[in-house]
Subunit: 395 residues, 2 copies
DNA sequence: TCAATATGTTGCCAACGCAACCAAATTGCC
DNA sequence: GGCAATTTGGTTGCGTTGGCAACATATTGA
C-alpha cells in the first residue's frame, strides 16, 4: 500500500475513484471466481448489501456480468443470485511461434471459446505476424457477430518483452529484435494490444485459474522446447520488475562448469535442463513429446534414470534459490518440467543437498501445472481484460 | 453483522477509506520526502488544492505534521508553506545482537534522535533481551518527556522472522528458536511491536532514505560479519513472501563444489563470500573491520587480490541470478559487500561470464549503500511507523 | 408454522472532494 | 516604486457516494 513519490497516488475525482475501484473489484472477483453469489460478494468486499446491489446492477446494465438464479446451497435462508461473467466481452489471445500463430477467443471467467491455429513453414517476421493475425481476426468476425465485443488483444511472446509498450526486445527463435509488435498490431487492427513474455503469462494464468487460485505468492516454472521461463506472483499480483523482464528463471546459474548459454553466461538452468535431451534418451522424436511423461515414468533404462536425476538435480538448485529468495506458498511446474517432476516426485519433495531454509521450505508446495494447452490463451486474455477490469465503467 | 472486525482478502472501498488513504499518502510523502510544500503535495496527489488543505490541516491538528514558512523557491506566485514531519511521534528501533542491544529513537522523516547501546558479555536469551530493552526504554522516558509519543517498536532481528506475528523462527547467532519475541516485548512494554529480519529492514531503509529513493524496484544486499542477507523492493513496496522470509540472498547457490552451509545446503553465497576471510588476508582483526575498505584498495598483495577476485566472482553469480529473476532498477551493496565492490569496481560493472540478460542488465545500476551506521535504526523505525502511516487518523 | 437467513427498495445522513470565488504573496517588467 | 502576471491559500456551497435503518419478501429446515 506504499505509494511512492514518483507517481501520482490519486488522479481526478476521488468519488469516481471509489466507484471505479468497487466496480473493478467486483468484476475481478466474478472473473477470477467464474461467478460468485451476491452474498459472497458482500462478504468478500465488506460493503453494505445495498451498495453491492447497486454496483452489480450497474455491471449488469453495462453487460459485463449477468445474474442467474441461485444455486442450491443447502443453506438456510433466501438464496442469493449468482453473479456470472457476461459472455459479451471477449479478449483475444495471440501466441506467435516459429511454426504457427495461434489466436484464441476467450470470455470473461477465462473460458476459451475458440482457438485458431495458422501453421507456418518458416518463422514469421513481425510484419508477417501482424498481417496474418489481422487476417485471422478478420475471418473470425462473422463467428463473433455482434454478440461479442473485443476488449483487447494480449500477445504471449516467446522472448523478452518490455511490458510498458509491448516492445519485443528479443525473441531469439523468431529472430525478432526490438520489434514494436504491440504498436504494430494495434495500428493494423484498431484494437488495444498488450504484449508480455509467454511464461510470465502462463504464470498469470496458473495464478488466476490454475493451481495458484487464491494464493498471493507463487512461482510458475515453464519448460518449453526452446527453454525455461517463469512467472512470479507476489502479494497477489504479477511481479514485473523495472521493464517487465522479471521471471527469467531459465538463466539461473546451476552449474559453473556447464556450457555457454545463448544469453552469454555459463551454466544456465536452461542449458542443463532440456526437453530435447529427455526426448533423446527416451528415443522419442519431437512429435512424440506428448508421450514424454509416460515414457519417463515407464522407463527402467539406466541412461534415462541418470538423465532424469541429473536434470532434477539442476532444477532443484533453481528451486532452492527461488524459494530462499521469494518464500512462495506454491511452485507450479509446467511444460516438460511437470513430466520431469512426475518421473521422480519424491526427488523435488526433499531437495537433498539443495535444502532451502527450513522455514521457507515448510510453507511451499511444489506441484505440476493444472492448466493444459489453453494456458497461453488464458494468460494472454488476462492481459486483454486488464484494462476492462481496472475500469469497467470506461467500456 | 460487523464486517469491520474481520479482514477479508479483498476489500471494497468507501468514503472512509478514501479519507484514510489520502491522509496516509500525504503522511507517507512527507515522511519519506522529509517535507514537501503544499503545492508539491497537490501536484503529487492530483487532488484539489482545497482538499489538500483540509487533509494537511487534519494532520496538523493531530500533531503528525507541522507547517513552516515557505522556502524561497524563486518562483512567481504566492509561496507555498512547507509541510514537515512533526517531531512529536517517534518510533523506537531495536537491534539485538550477540554482543550488544541497540535501541534508537527515530523521528518521522527518518531522523535518528538518540541511540543507546547496551553492551553484553554473552548473547542474550529472548527473555533477557526483553528485560534489558524494557529497562532501556524506561530510562529513556525522562529524556523523551511528554514532547514525544512512541508509535511503536520495530525490531531488526539477525535471523528468520515470521513478519505476521513477529515470531523469531531462527536466529542462529543469538541461539533463538521459535521465540515469540514481538509478543513478549509488547507485553513487557505495552507498546505495539513488530519484528523483521535485519537485512530486510536495511533494504527498506535504503529504499526509503538511501540510494533507492523514488525507485520502485531495487534489491539490497547486506554483508554482515555473520553472513549475507537482503531485502527486495518491488513495485515500490517490500517483498515479503508468504511468511516474510523473502530475501535470503545469502543462500543462493554459487558453488556446487563448495562447503556445506549451516542451512544444510552446499555452496551458498555466504559460505564463499565472507568478511572474516577478507580480514584474514589483509591481516586485520575483527576490531579493525572499519579499515577493511582502505586495506583492500591499498593492498597490492597477490593473496588479497586473489581472494577479492574469488569473492567478487561468487557475488557476481548471485547478482546475475537476481537481476535475471527480478529485473531491478538498482542493486545496493551494504556492509562489507560495499568494501568488496570498492576494491575492484569494474568487476561487477561487467559481470564477465555471469552476464545477465542484456535487456535486464541495461536497466540496472549497482551501487554501494548510502546509509551508514544508522541503517537498522531507520529500517526498524519504518516498521514502527508503518501502522501510523497506514492510518494516521487512528492515532 | 416459525425461526433464520437472504434480497430488494426506499429514504435519510454523513463524508468526501471539487469548483468557484476572493484574498494574499511573490516575481518580473516598466 | 508601481503594476500586471502568476501562483497559492481560505471559504463556501454542491454533487456523489456509501452506510444504515426499516420494512416487505423469498426460501429452507426444524
Amino acid at each position: 500500500m506504499n505509494e511512492r513519490a514518483v507517481r501520482p497516488a490519486v488522479r481526478g475525482n476521488s468519488n469516481d475513484h471509489v466507484r471505479r475501484h468497487n466496480l473493478s473489484t467486483i468484476l475481478g472477483l466474478v472473473h477470477h471466481g467464474r461467478g460468485m453469489s451476491r452474498s459472497q460478494l458482500t462478504q468478500a468486499m465488506g460493503l453494505n448489501r445495498s451498495t453491492i446491489a447497486a454496483l452489480v446492477t450497474e455491471l449488469v446494465d453495462r453487460d459485463l456480468v449477468r445474474e442467474e438464479d441461485a444455486e442450491s446451497t443447502f443453506q438456510v435462508g433466501r438464496p442469493s443470485p449468482m453473479v456470472r461473467p457476461s459472455s459479451t466481452p471477449v479478449g483475444l489471445a495471440l501466441n506467435p511461434e516459429i511454426d504457427a500463430i495461434t489466436l484464441g477467443v476467450v470470455g470473461l471467467g477465462g473460458e476459451v471459446l475458440t482457438t485458431v491455429r495458422h501453421s507456418l513453414t518458416a518463422p514469421p517476421t513481425a510484419e508477417q505476424a501482424v498481417e496474418i493475425t489481422a487476417g485471422m481476426i478478420e475471418s473470425l468476425q462473422p463467428a463473433l457477430g455482434s454478440a461479442h465485443r473485443i476488449t483487447g488483444i494480449g500477445v504471449a511472446v516467446p522472448g523478452l518483452v518490455r511490458e510498458r509498450d509491448g516492445l519485443v526486445r528479443l525473441a531469439p527463435h523468431l529472430n525478432w529484435h526490438d520489434e514494436p509488435f504491440a504498436k504494430m498490431l494495434q495500428v493494423a487492427t484498431g484494437v488495444p494490444v498488450r504484449a508480455a513474455n509467454d511464461a510470465r503469462l502462463g504464470g498469470r494464468a496458473e495464478s488466476a485459474f490454475g493451481g495458484g487460485r487464491g494464493l498471493r505468492d507463487m512461482i510458475y516454472f515453464n519448460g518449453s522446447p526452446s527453454g525455461i521461463g517463469g512467472g512470479i506472483i507476489t502479494g497477489g499480483s504479477p511481479l514485473a520488475g523495472a521493464d517487465g523482464y522479471a521471471g527469467e528463471l531459465g538463466h539461473t546459474m546451476v552449474n559453473p562448469y556447464g556450457m555457454a548459454c545463448h544469453c552469454g553466461a555459463v551454466g544456465c538452468l536452461e542449458t542443463e535442463v532440456r526437453r530435447d535431451r529427455l526426448l533423446e534418451v527416451t528415443g522419442l522424436g519431437a512429435e512424440d513429446a506428448a508421450g514424454l511423461a509416460t515414457a519417463l515414468t515407464a522407463s527402467s533404462d539406466a541412461m534415462v534414470e541418470a538423465e532424469v536425476g541429473r536434470q532434477l538435480g539442476y532444477l532443484g538448485v533453481a528451486l532452492r534459490n527461488t524459494i530462499n529468495l521469494l518464500n512462495p506458498q506454491l511452485i507450479v511446474l509446467g511444460g516438460f518440467l511437470a513430466d520431469l517432476m512426475d518421473a521422480d516426485p519424491s526427488r523435488l519433495g526433499n531437495l537433498g543437498s539443495n535444502r532451502p531454509l527450513a522455514a521457507s521450505r515448510q510453507s511451499v508446495d511444489i506441484r505440476p501445472a493444472e492448466l493444459g494447452a489453453d494456458l497461453l490463451m488464458i494468460g494472454g486474455a488476462e492481459l486483454a481484460f486488464e484494462s476492462l477490469i481496472a475500469d469497467p465503467a470506461a467500456f
